[in-house]
């Protein structure tokens, strides 16, 4: 089975954002990056499917030169090769632009199955998967917690809200967006890291100008919905003050 896994490089969780001069984007020079967590689960799922059914796993990523970091990491974890659609303008692009950039190169490959995370930890549009599926004219399903492949058909467990699930069948080729927690992640071994150095990363130019479907007019710290009373002091002092306020002011104890 020929499996594609689409991976995005996003700022680390620990990163504290600073804004650029016109306050429409973050200062990219301050950012440290990592693999988007839901995509890491999609990668793990694709490796498990390959172990079960054979075939290959191809990492597909759209972004500036810097995204090679997460491509190498995915190769070190066990993916076979990669396609990198490279363009500096893709760094801040939306899901529409990313799907448009990847679609032609991915269509050429004729993958049986395409996996990606359910959303990105940076822009969080939760659109890329279904948009790419539409562009490639393959069926899709989202927020998937289990993937079963049987010949040319696919049966998946889709997460619904509030603890409900649903099984869905569809033909291959297909695209699935993977929910975090579907599996336990593996990490790269030293052997994997060495092997990744020899694996092929095919660089592809964007098929046309990078056009996003939305424009950020302003970026700012979130407005507080509540007046927060911050309690300081030593742990013991803070604990004493909090309990006092919860008893006497908030009256919830």
């Amino acid at each position: 089975m020929k499996i594609a896994v689409c991976i995005k490089q996003v700022p680390t969780r620990e990163w504290q954002p600073r804004l650029n001069e016109d306050k429409t984007w973050v200062r990219e020079q301050d950012v440290s990056y990592e693999m988007n967590e839901p995509d890491a689960y999609a990668l793990e799922e694709s490796l498990r499917l390959r172990e079960k059914h054979g075939g290959e796993v191809v990492v597909c990523s759209a972004g500036p030169t810097r995204v090679q970091q997460v491509i190498r990491e995915a190769l070190a974890r066990g993916a076979d090769r990669a396609i990198h659609v490279e363009d500096a303008a893709l760094g801040a692009a939306d899901a529409y632009a990313a799907a448009a950039a990847l679609a032609p190169a991915m269509a050429e490959e004729q993958f049986d199955l395409i996996l990606t995370g359910l959303q990105s930890d940076d822009q969080g549009h939760a659109q890329f998967g279904p948009v790419l599926a539409t562009r490639l004219n393959v069926p899709h399903s989202t927020i998937i917690m289990e993937v079963l492949v049987d010949g040319q058909s696919l049966r998946v467990k889709r997460e619904l809200e509030g603890g409900w699930f649903q099984h869905i069948a569809m033909p291959l080729p297909a695209l699935l967006t993977i929910q975090s927690g579907i599996n336990q992640l593996r990490y790269a071994t030293l052997k994997g890291i060495m092997a990744a150095k020899k694996k092929d990363i095919k660089k592809v130019a964007t098929p046309g100008a990078v056009v996003s479907r939305q424009k950020v007019l302003a970026l700012y710290a979130p407005t507080k919905s509540k007046q927060t009373t911050m309690i300081g002091g030593s742990p013991a002092e803070a604990a004493k003050e909090l309990v006092k306020r919860l008893r006497e002011e908030a009256r919830v104890l």
Binding site: H140, T142, Q214, T229
Partner: protein, 327 residues
């Protein structure tokens, strides 16, 4: 006009639909009356049973879309159905509640008609004479005001809880209900859905808990979970968790709070080492009093907290236990 796409399952309205109508009413204020009126469409078998609830809103009309091929939700059928309603009504904006179902098909719909989709919107404002949409970015660390690019209609999803269903303006009299003219090409539906199910009977109904102590990534390892357990016991609270804790199997899935878990509104909610990603906040921001304990002063959880302690949870949790056990 503004088209609001309501959601129902088996004749039961998803409450987020009313929030979406309330948001659309606010959009009408920001975009100007010429953007109106608001029409609500609800698709799927059972749609006519919720039309009355929707018609009570201050809207121009309600459309029901029931047809062969719409008995069970599939993204392929819903893209077909809503696309036809858009073609017939030529809206300026199409508004959805940001549910799992919307997330499943609205991006495909936007791609099919080649229009902008702005998701997870928490507010509407006017910027330079046009409507702009506020949405969280970077795990809620920042908010962006965003404008759609290209031609209308613009597709917008409103985050659950961003607008209040009880703030929805009701009409002086019921709006007219009519049937949308929708036909579905069943052969083009590629997904075959089965009946929804629950994994296990939920042992704990956290929605009934008066107090909840919820633990997040800040707890670091499974071995540290008893620290949170002790704090919950000292507060007389139920123990709950954010998604990553349950993903790791450190606590069972039925103790998960957030969009994929339970939605709670206790008297007291103590968030221990939870950063406050939006998927978690939607499940707990209705709590009366929220306490956030986190080492990161910039964590989004502090934006919804009534009381905050910035510090090391491994020092503060035991100190709180000691304090609570004093009396």
């Amino acid at each position: 006009m503004i088209l609001v796409v309501a959601e129902q399952h088996d004749g039961k309205l998803n409450r987020a639909s009313l929030e979406a109508i309330a948001g659309a009413q606010e959009l009408l204020t920001a975009a100007g009356a010429s953007a109106g009126p608001i029409t609500v469409v609800v698709a799927g078998n059972g749609a006519s049973r919720v039309a009355g609830d929707l018609a009570a809103a201050d809207v121009g009309g309600v459309l029901t879309a029931e047809a062969d091929g719409l008995s069970d939700y599939t993204p392929d059928a819903w893209v077909q159905a809503i696309r036809q309603v858009i073609d017939q009504t030529s809206p300026q904006y199409v508004i959805f509640p940001h549910t799992y179902q919307t997330r499943d098909y609205a991006p495909a719909l936007a791609a099919t008609i080649d229009r902008a989709l702005i998701t997870d919107v928490i507010g509407v404002k006017q910027v330079g004479g046009a409507a702009a949409f506020s949405r969280p970015m970077f795990q809620g660390k920042l908010t962006a005001d965003v404008a759609p690019v290209g031609d209308a209609p613009y597709l917008i999803t409103f985050q659950i809880g961003a607008f209040r269903a009880d703030a929805m303006k009701r009409g002086a009299s019921a709006a007219a209900v009519s049937q949308a003219n929708v036909t579905i090409d069943a052969a083009a539906i590629r997904q075959k859905p089965e009946a929804p199910f629950q994994e296990a009977k939920q042992a704990v109904d956290l929605s009934q808990a008066e107090r909840i102590v919820a633990v997040g990534r800040g707890i670091k390892t499974q071995e540290n979970i008893p620290i949170a357990e002790k704090l919950a016991k000292a507060f007389g609270a139920e123990l709950a968790a954010s998604r990553p804790i349950c993903d790791n199997g450190w606590l069972p899935m039925e103790r998960q709070i957030g969009s994929s878990g339970q939605t709670v509104a206790p008297k007291l909610y103590v968030a221990l080492g939870i950063s406050g990603a939006i998927q978690h906040l939607v499940g707990m921001k209705g709590a009366r009093i929220i306490v956030a304990i986190n080492k990161d002063a910039e964590a989004p959880i502090f934006e919804v907290a009534d009381y905050g302690i910035q510090g090391d949870i491994f020092e503060i949790a035991p100190a709180l236990v000691a304090e609570l056990e004093k009396s």
